[in-house]
């Protein structure tokens, strides 16, 4: 982990009902959750850069890779077999613990979540 990532991960906290997307080189982006959706859809609908979601949420394409900040991992469902397939085979800079597909992360108005968005999805 780079020093700058470390700093970003320390300084930010997500309010309830918001997801914070952290990308290197730009200000973190907090997006409010008004209805149940996924961290991928929320990002795409709000134009968060770096999350593509080519397959629309089928865990088929591997273009919504994020790394969840440690303190929020416990609140998420474990990855299913389909998600693990993509993480195993497609994601090149996988973190063994923090890497997830944003399309498989449910978010609600009660959720708080911080994720790092990688520089590239390919």
């Amino acid at each position: 982990m780079t020093e700058s990532n470390q700093q970003e991960r320390i300084v930010h906290q997500a309010d309830a009902g918001s997801v914070v997307y952290v990308s290197a080189g730009t200000a973190p982006r907090a997006v409010s959750v008004t209805q149940p959706t996924t961290a991928m859809r929320l990002a795409v609908e709000h134009g968060v850069p770096g999350i593509i979601g080519e397959c629309g949420g089928q865990a088929m394409c591997g273009t919504c890779h994020v790394k969840v900040h440690d303190e929020y991992l416990g609140g998420l469902p474990a990855p299913n077999e389909e998600e693990l397939d993509i993480l195993d085979v497609v994601i090149t800079d996988r973190d063994p613990v923090r890497s997830r597909l944003a399309c498989q992360l449910p978010v609600t108005p009660e959720t708080s979540l911080i994720v790092d968005v990688p520089d590239t999805q390919y």
């Binding site: 593509i52 629309g56 397939d85 993509i86």
Partner: protein
């Protein structure tokens, strides 16, 4: 109707698009990102972001349901349906086409097929057609195995595929096309039914088997297996051939790939960006939708121009150039969203990881016989043929 107030391209015809769509796309972009084409009765979208938006928002743009040519040709296929019905069938099929099963199961089949076809191809000698004599049998053999019909001759898979595609396009209702389609349906249904009986209760990874395990009823297994057959031959065939053509036009890039500076997977992404095998997808506006200042009235038919989106100058620098080293960015060669091509990982593996490396290693100096290859087609675009030559004992 606000049609007379929107940017209009009354000069666009299907013939022009089939001949060469790219100058048409350039002219359309000059008119505006959303244009009305009265001769086609369609709104045309050339921008990548707009095309993605339409595919992503099924609440605004639906798959055309009434009189679906896909249904007419093959039955209740998932590509003719919206959510949630589509998603159930798609989720049933995906397990046969996920990247892990491709790598762990299907790739070995692709390699065996490639070696087998290459052996025969080499025997034909220089002048053999890489499109007809390699790419076609290779694509059809791969497809037969992945669908779950390993014992069906590839020539049958190809014939059925052509019959289905022709029937989808048979707007004039040519009785010969309808008859060929009836025969193809009867033969394919019988083969699929035999396999359903054989595979019942098995853990086979093929499409037919995973659909059965997911509980899809037999008519939907049949229809979606036929959909895969219709969509799984000429696209990978064209991409394989287009890549050989494109690399031959850029010998420096081919040399860099051969030297390991770039991967064949990078070649694949650039080939399908530069020359996607399918150029349009259609949706119908459910409500009045405004896009880029143009209102498309409810009921309007909209063409998502994949080939134009893939050369959107706002997303790709010098978009008409074939540049393998181009930074990878999202393109629309496979569409996007819930209906994104289910076979893209299979295509990537079979063409980029298996076929091209084997061809360039196995046929030293592989190159087209001449430079006058001409792409054709709009709904399906590719080279009709590409005779190639290579160094043999006699030519060295």
């Amino acid at each position: 109707m606000p049609v007379n107030t929107v940017p209009t391209a009354d000069w666009v015809t299907l013939e022009q698009l089939a001949e060469d769509p790219y100058p048409v796309y350039d002219r359309l972009r000059a008119v505006g990102p959303v244009t009305w084409a009265p001769q086609l009765g369609r709104f045309l979208l050339t921008g990548l972001d707009d095309c993605r938006f339409v595919e992503a928002n099924e609440d605004l743009f639906e798959i055309e349901q009434e009189d679906s040519p896909l249904k007419r040709a093959m039955g209740e296929v998932m590509l003719s349906k919206n959510e949630p019905e589509h998603g159930v069938e798609r989720a049933a099929i995906n397990p046969a086409l996920r990247p892990k099963v491709i790598a762990e199961v299907w790739r070995a089949h692709f390699e065996a097929h490639a070696r087998q076809v290459l052996e025969r191809f080499r025997g034909l000698g220089p002048g053999a057609d890489i499109n007809a004599d390699f790419a076609l049998p290779y694509a059809a053999m791969n497809l037969g195995v992945v669908v779950g019909l390993p014992d069906v001759p590839w020539t049958d898979v190809q014939r059925w595929s052509l019959a289905f595609i022709a029937a989808v396009a048979n707007v004039q209702e040519d009785p010969r096309v309808s008859e060929a389609n009836r025969i193809a349906n009867a033969e394919a249904d019988a083969a699929i039914d035999r396999r359903m009986a054989e595979l019942a209760g098995s853990a086979d990874p093929s499409m037919i088997s995973v659909m059965l395990r997911a509980g899809l009823p037999p008519d939907l297994v049949r229809a979606n297996a036929k959909l895969a057959i219709s969509g799984g031959v000429n696209e990978p065939q064209h991409v394989l051939t287009s890549g050989v053509h494109a690399l031959s036009q850029h010998p420096d890039q081919l040399a860099a790939v051969r030297a390991g500076e770039y991967t064949y997977t990078q070649v694949f992404d650039e080939v399908v960006r530069w020359m996607p095998p399918i150029h349009t997808l259609m949706r119908r506006a459910r409500v009045d939708v405004e896009l880029n200042g143009v209102t498309m009235p409810a009921g309007s038919l909209v063409w998502i121009l994949l080939g134009a989106a893939n050369r959107d100058p706002r997303h790709f620098e010098q978009p008409d150039r074939f540049v393998v080293s181009r930074p990878r960015r999202p393109h629309l060669a496979f569409g996007s969203g819930p209906h994104i091509c289910a076979g893209s990982w299979a295509a990537r593996s079979s063409i980029a990881e298996v076929a091209w490396p084997l061809l360039y290693d196995g046929l030293p100096g592989l190159t087209p016989v001449d430079d006058d290859a001409r792409f054709h087609g709009f709904f399906f675009r590719g080279l009709p043929g590409l005779p190639v030559t290579w160094e043999t004992e006699n030519t060295k």
